[in-house]
Amino acid sequence: MSNQAHNALCAWSLTISNMKLKLEIKGKTYDIELTEFDEKVKIEVNKKEFVFNQKEISKEKRIKVAKSYLPQKRDFKEKEIKSPIAGIISEIFIKENQPVKKNQKLLVLSAMKMENEVISDFDGKIKEIFVKKNQKVKKDQILLIIR
């Protein structure tokens, strides 16, 4: 591997052959594996694979990769609660700015006579609610944000 490519890839300047490392950023762990083969470099971040041909690595590409990989700040603080299935919001138990506990009931989503109690999976505060009672929602529609 040329020095230039090496520097472009690894700002922390380590020799790549087959390297595994764990990075912990604000409580979230990232499993990173770097492998070199056939003049190419493979980077796996949490099982997502990216393969680079060393010769093609330019500064622009490096910046692009870095941007797409660094989780945005909000990911650590906020969480979107999405609709697990298409249906109708039949009950809402919480209000904006209300603190909520893990496993607390947030709302009920009715779908095909099936009642789904949506609960919070962590402690936080309701930042925003995007739905109203009796509103139809699609699968994966964002219902509310907890931070």
Binding site: I81, P84, I85, S90, S110, A111, M112, K113, M114, E115, N116, E117, V118, I119, S120, D121
Partner: protein
């Protein structure tokens, strides 16, 4: 089949939700004092009827949606095979005989990122002699239709076994 038999409960679904770690447990009650259907609508549940809930194993939400409908079909099939009725399924979750409701099915899930727990509750009007005036034109029972008692346990076993084969 593990059946927990209660004399009186608020609702069998409410009890079943507490047994999420023991899938296929059946909660059976002689009567429900706060039996409900969709939208927490009251389900008349006096002694004599068959009221039970099944704790379901972890399943994808899409499969549970199909289960509501298939359970109504299963109840209709059991009634047809045992008593030669021609029940009508009011999609997706009610079974009617002679245009009157004889059975209701209610699946309730707790979800966050994935399904945390699921129960299916079935209320079947088996040995109910008569209904209050406000329900007389909407509800019926097997006893009213057949003019005889029916074996609740046998019907329960058939329905639960058929549902088990669905998942």
């Amino acid at each position: 089949m593990k059946v927990l038999h209660f004399k009186t409960v608020p609702s069998t679904n409410a009890i079943a939700k507490k047994y999420k770690k023991a899938p296929w447990t059946v909660i059976l009650a002689d009567e429900q004092v706060s039996g409900y259907g969709k939208g927490k609508r009251f389900w008349y549940s006096p002694k004599g009827g068959l009221y039970f809930s099944i704790v379901l194993p972890k399943t994808k939400i899409e499969d549970l949606q199909i289960l509501t409908i298939s359970s109504a079909f299963i109840v209709a099939k059991v009634l047809k095979e045992n008593f030669s009725f021609s029940p009508l399924i009011k999609l997706p979750n009610d079974v009617l005989i002679n245009q009157r409701k004889v059975c209701g099915v209610l699946v309730e899930n707790v979800v966050s990122k994935d399904v945390k727990s699921s129960v299916i509750g079935i209320g079947l009007n088996t040995n109910i002699k008569s209904f209050p005036d406000n329900l007389k034109n909407k509800a019926t029972s097997l006893e009213i239709e057949l003019k005889r008692k029916v074996p609740n346990k046998k019907i329960l076993n058939q329905i639960v076994n058929n549902i088990r084969n669905q998942l």
